[in-house]
């Protein structure tokens, strides 16, 4: 059974339809990349999964249970964690407090704790008591990822984690994903950076203008197919 299965998902912002009949699945332990240009509906897709945007109950299933449109806290408590676009750390919390809040009231068991996160990102251990906003962009992204991992999720959603970061920093951030995968955690990365996305993923979905235009394993997809799916023509 797929960990997450999405069937015929429509999503709206008011009267504006942002997603049209999206169907997709994420298997346990699988890393899925969602690529597409700006406004393709990638982030909207994540918003619908997390319950931040309403959808039909049966359109989204997690571990077989229909979760579409449930309030976000109820969804996240089932074992989903999110690294939001733009990192969105809590400015009045220190680095360590940001990590701790990620595990608030959630009892997922697994490898991730303050200690193991400081092993994964040693710089965060050194800066644990600093205000979160005093960190560099890359370090803030590490906090955002660590914060999501603190709940030991079954499914980790990453929204544009490379956005606005230098290439060397992006490499460091992505270098952490294998350790997450090794725990059996499924990962969904939403990316505009196709090369990076193809490198880490077992499966790629391409969105264009709210519709899924391509899916498959990164090895099996040709450059041309991706190009035309990405740009929608």
């Amino acid at each position: 059974m797929a960990l997450l299965s999405v069937e015929n998902l429509d999503a709206f912002y008011g009267d504006f339809q942002a997603l049209f009949g999206i169907s997709a699945a994420v298997e346990p332990g699988e890393t899925v990349a969602i690529i597409g240009s700006n406004g393709a509906g990638k982030s909207t897709f994540l918003k619908a999964i997390t319950g931040m945007l309403g959808s039909a109950r049966a359109a989204i299933r997690f571990e077989g249970e229909a979760i579409g449109g449930l309030p976000a806290p109820d969804v996240m408590k089932r074992g989903i964690a999110m690294v939001p676009e733009g990192r969105k750390l809590f400015p009045s919390l220190s680095v360590e407090e940001n990590l701790l809040i990620g595990g608030y009231g959630r009892t997922g068991s697994g490898r991730w704790s303050l200690r193991t996160l400081y092993e994964l990102f040693p710089i965060l251990g050194e800066r644990r008591n600093n205000p979160s906003m005093s960190l560099s962009g890359g370090q803030q992204q590490m906090v955002a990822i660590g914060r999501a991992l603190m709940s030991n999720p079954k499914l980790l959603l990453c929204d544009e984690i490379s956005l606005g970061l230098a290439p060397v920093v992006i490499r460091d951030i992505y270098a952490a994903l294998p350790a997450v995968k090794a725990e059996g955690t499924s990962i969904v990365v939403v990316e505009q950076d196709i090369v990076q996305a193809m490198k880490v993923s077992d499966r790629v979905y391409c969105f264009s203008e709210g519709r899924m235009t391509l899916s498959g394993s990164p090895d099996a997809l040709s450059r041309e197919a991706i190009h035309s799916a990405y740009f929608g023509h």
């Binding site: 997390t50 931040m52 309030p71 976000a72 806290p73 996240m76 408590k77 964690a81 999110m82 939001p84 969105k88 809590f90 400015p91 009045s92 919390l93 407090e97 701790l100 809040i101 990620g102 608030y104 009231g105 959630r106 914060r147 709940s151």
Partner: protein
């Protein structure tokens, strides 16, 4: 010289009462950006509750106050969970109007139940007890207890905010309610707990208000003004700032009444305006606002 010292000491003590009025207001604004226009009336409601426990159930005053704390916590939790949460959102106007309506309902409810008569809570000999400091200055035991309670409440709330998981969640929700939900935090439940705590503090404020002066169902809004001024002088969302704000108002009022008894209230408002001119964001503004 002695007069000046006396004015400052009495002003600081009076400031304790205003800080106690304001602490709940500050807490609620800090956590959910809600300006609770009914806060003054909720303090008066607490005073009536304590009075009712004393006169109808025959409880001694300290015990009545102790009973009022959890009762007011429950009232706050229920109020937030059942009514105010419906109005909280990006627009600050609906909750403002809702608390305005609540203020009117509480005042009229109290008028109906207790009439417009002026009441008072009696603390017996404690009311007149005082500690002589020498040089003709004495400090009242009750005002001292009020200030001590205000300081304890603010220390306690700060510990809660900065040392506990619940406090972290309060600050996270205050920073960014939608991202907090992604952390599995149920904002609505958290808001209800915050309102419960604020009204437990209001119960303490009601106790000291009722001992210090006469109260009737309509005095809430006037008390709310002082609380507002204390919160704004201190800087929105800063609890220590709220204590400082209460003390500024207290000293200004005491100084005003030392010059001319009619100037007490005016002096407090003038001090408020003066602070606004010099530091529009208050004495201890939070960096993020």
């Amino acid at each position: 010289m002695t007069t000046l010292l006396d004015v400052i000491i009495q002003g600081v003590l009076l400031g304790g009462l205003y800080a106690l009025f304001a602490a709940g207001l500050s807490l609620i604004f800090g956590v959910m950006r809600l300006v609770n226009l009914a806060h003054g009336d909720l303090i008066v409601l607490s005073a009536f509750l304590i009075m009712a426990l004393v006169s109808f159930l025959g409880l001694p005053l300290p015990l009545a106050a102790l009973v009022a704390l959890p009762v007011m916590f429950a009232v706050g939790y229920a109020l937030q969970a059942s009514i105010l949460n419906r109005a909280i959102g990006a627009d600050i106007l609906p909750p403002l109007l809702m608390t305005f309506g609540l203020s009117i309902i509480i005042q009229n409810g109290l008028l109906e139940a207790f009439s417009a008569d002026s009441r008072r809570l009696s603390a017996g000999d404690l009311e007149t007890a005082s500690l002589p400091l020498g040089g003709g200055i004495a400090i009242g035991v009750m005002p001292l207890m009020t200030l001590a309670t205000a300081v304890l409440v603010i220390v306690g709330l700060n510990q809660l905010f900065y040392r506990t998981a619940l406090g972290r969640a309060f600050r996270a929700v205050s920073d960014d309610p939608s991202v907090a939900q992604l952390m599995g935090i149920d904002n609505r439940k958290l808001f209800a707990v915050a309102m419960g705590i604020a009204l437990a503090v209001a119960a303490l404020a009601g106790l000291f208000l009722g001992i210090r002066a006469n109260f009737d169902p309509t005095i809430g809004p006037a008390r709310l003004i002082f609380a507002f001024e204390a919160v704004i002088i201190g800087g929105l969302g800063s609890l220590w700032g709220t204590l400082a704000g209460g003390i500024v108002i207290g000293i200004a009022q005491t100084a005003g009444s030392a010059i001319n008894p009619e100037w007490q209230i005016l002096a407090g408002h003038l001090a408020f305006l003066a602070v606004l001119i010099v530091r529009p964001r208050g004495l201890f503004p939070r960096a993020a606002d």
